[in-house]
């Protein structure tokens, strides 16, 4: 978070976390596609030759004035593969909020849990344990034939009272609701912190 009182700008960082191939980059791509180009930056992607996220994907967008302040939101994804653990921790630095993108496929339940625990430990290391940082959970790929019922996904992750959304990020379904929820939560957290 970065507040410039002169320009009345509030800059916030939101990180999309989750296992490999769960749809984090797809979320950002959809957001990039659907946000007015006048209000957003280019999409920066550091990818491998196989088109997988190597370090992060990044974009920024601006909201118009809200009560005299101009919120500017930065979105990052982390690389999901296990061996990029160190990179994930770096991307999480300075995050004001996190979206956890879970894969609804029955075959990925273990990967979701592993990634959730990895996030839990990385956030705890940064003194922002789960529960203290705004967090939204997205159950992506709800269109899959083997999609696990949301209630089971919730149980498997042990997700508590966090806002949760179903999504098919590939066609944009659920992407905006997830974004709205995390932006609201983050701004309210900032408001609370400054009071």
């Amino acid at each position: 978070m970065n507040i410039n009182w002169q320009l009345r700008q509030l800059r916030l960082k939101i990180v999309y976390y989750g296992p490999a191939m769960s749809g984090k980059t797809t979320n950002i791509e959809q957001i990039h596609k659907r946000i007015d180009p006048n209000n957003r930056s280019n999409l920066v992607s550091l990818k491998t030759n196989e088109d997988r996220t190597l370090f992060f994907d990044f974009m920024q967008f601006e909201l118009g004035k809200v009560c005299g302040m101009a919120p500017c939101i930065q979105l990052y994804t982390v690389p999901g593969q296990e061996y990029y653990k160190a990179s994930r921790k770096l991307v999480l630095r300075g995050a004001d909020g996190v979206v956890f993108v879970a894969d609804s496929s029955a075959a990925r339940i273990g990967d979701n849990l592993e990634s959730w625990l990895d996030m839990d430990s990385a956030l705890a290391e940064m003194n922002h344990p789960i529960g203290k940082i705004p967090l939204v959970v997205q159950y992506n790929k709800r269109d899959l034939a083997d999609a696990v019922p949301v209630i089971n996904l919730r149980k498997s992750l042990g997700v508590g009272e966090f806002p949760q959304f179903e999504a098919v990020a590939f066609n944009g379904e659920g992407v905006f609701n997830t974004l709205k929820s995390i932006v609201n939560d983050v701004i309210f957290q900032v408001q609370k912190e400054l009071q």
Binding site: N2, F58, L63, V66, P71, Q74, R93, I187, F188, Q191
Partner: protein
Amino acid sequence: MKNPMRLTGGMSIIPSQEELIDTILSSQLEKSQARLILLIDTSGQVISFHGERGSIDLVALGALTASDLAASEEIARISNLYQENQMVIRQGSKMNTIVYDVNHNLILLYIVPATVPLGWVCYLVRESSSQINEALSKIQEISGGRIFESENANLHEMINNALDQVWKD
């Protein structure tokens, strides 16, 4: 009220701090003959920019510079070589790039022609870093209170309206 400079997860820059930072970096730009000096926070958000912007995408540059330093610091940590105030130097045939860890919140990027002696530039980077730290620590002005002067219910509606306005279905 908290110190306006440090928040749990970031920084709050008040106008007098911003003015001081601008003065420091303007002077540094002249002394170093830099093409560009960028001050960002550790999450990559741009705080101040001086020099020739040209067609440079500053938002992307900020995000990549922060990540660059974070990755270099992590390499140093893993190799047991980490020290405070890490400096990453890239020497090129035409331009040199210096990324410097000012403190745990701020990062400086200098892009300087290769004709300017590198040792001199490194000295200036450290000098500006000290000046920035000094400027920030001197000012303890109180600013603000609530950032959004609105009741929570209204604020929620206003944020959603602002998001609806930038979103194309």
